[in-house]
Structure formats: structure tokens, C-alpha cells
Symmetry: C2
Subunit: 110 residues, 2 copies
Amino acid sequence: MVQLSERLDSAFAALGDPTRRRVLERLGRGEASISDLAGAFDMTLTGMKKHVHVLESAGLVTTEKIGRVRYCRPGPRRLREETEWIAKYQSMLEDRYDRLGEFLERTRGE
Amino acid sequence: MVQLSERLDSAFAALGDPTRRRVLERLGRGEASISDLAGAFDMTLTGMKKHVHVLESAGLVTTEKIGRVRYCRPGPRRLREETEWIAKYQSMLEDRYDRLGEFLERTRGE
């Protein structure tokens, strides 16, 4: 079982590339083969295979070979844990700014 | 002006490392100098400087040198655009699964 921290590492790293984000957006609209994707993004098959491999290792894309063609679809991971990490961090920042605001308010009153 | 896509690239890539995420969590609780952070994470000053530089380039950390000490605090970017990208992708996936569900429902009825 891969730890949460490692899942976050590989998912965030996978998202840190414009082509990989566009591949996910494309697959969000429907399945595609790796050659479809290579064509759509004007990229070599080898280049696209590497991107798909990074997405697949991060659990963001599932591939299945049917005959000679490898099809890709989104999932199983749907970035829920990544959203949770960001939401927790943002709420931590809000608390910090609230406390700072209260402090400034108190100081002004004195 | 850096494009949205480049901001997403650098922010997601910055988040794809466990130490950098923990540094953000630590700064969410209050300012710290780079040596404080290096000490807290049992890391060399040089190693920590690199991580802070990646976070600063992504706009996730601001540093300020006061005397001989460089202090770090979160921001100015607070991962709002990253949350929006993920939310849009997730809603795209939900639509897709809904359509798939409707299709299966229809097929079963026939």
C-alpha cells in the first residue's frame, strides 16, 4: 500500500506539466488510445507514452490493451486527497490571517 | 506577466515533494528563517535554500532578508488557481460518469 505522502508526490508532480494536464482534460471527455493522444497533441508516440506512464504511475490514468491498441481513461484516483491537502493548507492560512487581523485590531485599540 | 499554465506548472511541481509540502504547513503556522526550517527538518542550509527557492519561484513563499537572516512566510499565491483547475477536472469526470450511468440505465431498460 503506497503511503498518502507518496500518492501526493506523484500526483502533484504529474500535474506539474501542461501536456499531462491537457491529456487529463482530454480523457475527461472520453477514452482515447495513446496514438489518438499523440496525434491530438502533435507529439511522437514515444513522447506520449512517457506522459501516459507518469499519469498511470500516479493512478490518474488507467490503460488497457485491446488487440494492438492501448486505450486510456481517467482514474482510479480523482485528486480527492490532493484537494484535501490544499483545502487544509488554505484553511491554515486563513486562520493565520484572521489571527494577524485580530492582533492588528487589538493593537490599534490600545 | 507569467501565464496561468506556467503558474500551474511551477506550483504543482513545487507541491510534488514531501519536504516542500511540510515547509508550507510549517509556515502556515508562522514565519520562520531558512535556518529554523533547516533545523526543523534536519537538513543542510543549502538543501533547505533549494527547496525555499523552488517554493518562492512558484509564488508560494515570500522571503525577506532582515540583517543576516532570511525569513520566509506563505504567499502571495494561495493555490486558488490550482484548486480551480482540479475542481473543473473533477466536475468533468462526474459529468462523464453520470452520462455513463444514464447510458447503462437506458441500455438495461431496452
